[in-house]
Symmetry: C2
Subunit: 378 residues, 2 copies
């Protein structure tokens, strides 16, 4: 498996982004990823009961259609908590794009990230769509990775290439982080593209497995966004024998897992105000779910996060967080270890002494800068 | 019902506190509340699976004995995560006090608050106990309320008096707050005393009801302590007809509720680094548990708490927190209102549009000062 630290579009994909005027800064804010061949799509959305309008549209399209050609995403406005009007705006976005691309709107997925509770400037999107489509190119992904940024301080991108029976397959991903959208919401969006030929059930299973150990293992502040989405599109342009659950599945999962974990770690490293990247490994659990529960309980403890900011190896706060999670851990079985805290990256190892399973989560410290960013209004 | 803003010991109680040397500051750190008559006792302890040694001792005594004479509490050290040695220290504390008071150790309850994971200086307690007992007095509660303080900036105290069939009954409480014990743990301790004659089952039921709507409705940072405890002692010295579930119970609950809610509010008002006292009322819930779940989800959202610090009426963060709590709320039913945010006290009203039940919780904002306090090490 070859690793590239930049986004390189797999075969058959093009991309572009423009500044349509949603962001006051006039920065890139409308992005498009397009596939010349129809794609199978697998998506994971926030489990928040309040979901943004684009997610509602995507769920509807995914439930009724099986092939997709494009994803359009705007930054600067989350199109969430916007009622029926917001839903119409998300539908219209796919409508305008469908006309420009001469494809059905139901073959287009849509995403938004930014301020919550405000109407999308749909006219600006409508006006910008023709130029967005006209500018599609093989290196347009370098605009997309910037156009999806909000308070992110760096673009998040990764590509891997690997071979199946002599055929090179690419998986490439870009993401925006759980840095909070000034000033309203945290949102994580990831767009992962592959030219692999793969069955729908294998694609779904692979994304499920990889999401559980990557995007679902990161936490910045325990706050769940209304817009979180992971999109995985596979267009089959690599021409490999189709991957299925019993054919080359492990190879595909290994590569996809690498992409997902790297993007997830980048999101944590760019967390708002963070000064530390913290990896928490919990072992000795009865099952993986228990290990993850304990690790997330620690990662979401404000007291623990403050201690990390202060470079304070405070094992008491870890014990309290694990105990509060409801896991029936025994004081004398609980083992806690820290790597040196005066580094940018900290490893915390916790053993529950209850079994043989483990899980790792990634988080950041809690800092005055985080509060400054999130207390600000406009 | 008459309300007094200070602690006034009910009939039959005495108290005292000394500086035994656990706190480096040489401030009061060992406190005793004593009843001349045997008391019925009802207690509520943290649901954290990691519990401090004194709680383990109390649970054992409460399970095996029905009458109590005293509560001893030290501040400056939580005697938690201290293993068998810590358990022996807690038992020894009751042993030393039992000898000095000439009562059984099993008639004594014990509590600790302070740094987690360090052995208690048990010799200092042993040496101090005779003077602690010798100094017992009717106004000693004014020392107790200070001796239990750690990072608290003011003493928390309240007294109510009410009549049952011509007999005056007092309920008086002191508490220490969920200000974090520098630098290790948040702990809430409350000691509530009454001279009411009341059956054990009525006492337990009353404390359960009142705790649910007071101490269990406050949150500073969502971190659950290993030492949280509420002690309620009733010595019957008022000479009233014994209160029972079907006799004057509502009168007693009303008075006890007032005491518990007032102490709980004081704890939130003294939260570390807080600049705002925030009351969150959730109505329109299917049942009270759902209302409380939604209210606590909001109160524990870092994003919401940062917004309150910034005086930013950010309804999106409230919608996201409610949605993330798992309650199946509909966007169009959710109503959110703020009182003016430029005040010290803020009221937030949220209606879920799902039913007729409501609940209120109390919390504080999240501030850079909170992080400063909790990042510090010694």
């Amino acid at each position: 498996m070859k690793i590239f630290k930049s986004a390189i579009l797999p075969e058959g994909f093009k991309a572009n982004a423009v500044a349509c005027g949603i962001k006051k800064s006039k920065k890139l804010d409308l992005a498009l990823i397009f596939s010349q061949k129809a794609c199978k799509a697998s998506c994971k959305f926030t489990s928040n009961k309040i979901t943004a309008a684009p997610i509602q549209v995507d769920k509807c399209y995914l439930a009724n259609y099986s092939l997709f050609r494009a994803v359009i995403v705007n930054s600067g406005n989350a199109n969430c908590f916007t009622g029926k009007a917001g839903l119409k705006d998300a539908l219209d976005t796919t409508e305008f794009l469908g006309r420009a691309l001469n494809i059905k709107k139901e073959n287009i997925l849509v995403a938004s990230t930014g301020i919550i509770g405000r109407r999308l400037k749909i006219d600006k999107i409508k006006t910008a769509v023709p130029a967005l489509v006209a500018g599609l190119s093989r290196d347009g992904i370098n605009k997309v990775k910037k156009a999806i940024m909000t308070t992110d301080t760096f673009a998040k991108e990764i590509t891997v290439k690997f071979k199946i029976a002599g055929q090179t397959i690419s998986i490439s991903g870009v993401a925006k982080g759980a840095g909070m959208i000034a000033p309203h919401m945290a949102t994580m969006l990831s767009f992962i593209l592959t030219d692999a030929d793969i069955t729908k059930r294998a694609l779904d299973r692979a994304l499920g497995m990889c999401t559980e150990s990557s995007f679902n293992c990161i936490t910045v502040d325990g706050c769940m966004s209304t817009n979180d989405s992971v999109f995985l599109l596979a267009n089959g342009a690599a021409g490999n024998d189709a991957i299925d659950l019993n054919k080359n599945f492990a190879l595909f999962v290994k590569a996809l897992m690498f992409v997902c974990v790297e993007l997830a770690k980048m999101i944590v490293k760019d967390a708002e105000g963070a000064t530390k990247f913290i990896q928490i490994k919990v072992s000795g659990a009865k099952d993986t779910a228990e290990a993850k529960k304990a690790a997330l309980a620690i990662a979401n403890s404000n007291l623990f996060k403050c201690a990390m900011f202060g470079e304070n190896p405070n094992f008491g706060r870890i014990a309290a967080a694990v105990g509060a999670s409801g896991i029936d851990v025994k004081e004398k079985e609980l083992k806690i270890k820290f790597s040196p805290l005066n580094k940018n990256e900290i490893n915390v190892s916790v053993s529950l002494g209850r079994g043989i399973h483990s899980a790792t989560v990634y988080t950041s410290d809690l800092t005055p800068e985080y509060i400054k960013i999130n207390a600000a209004y406009n």
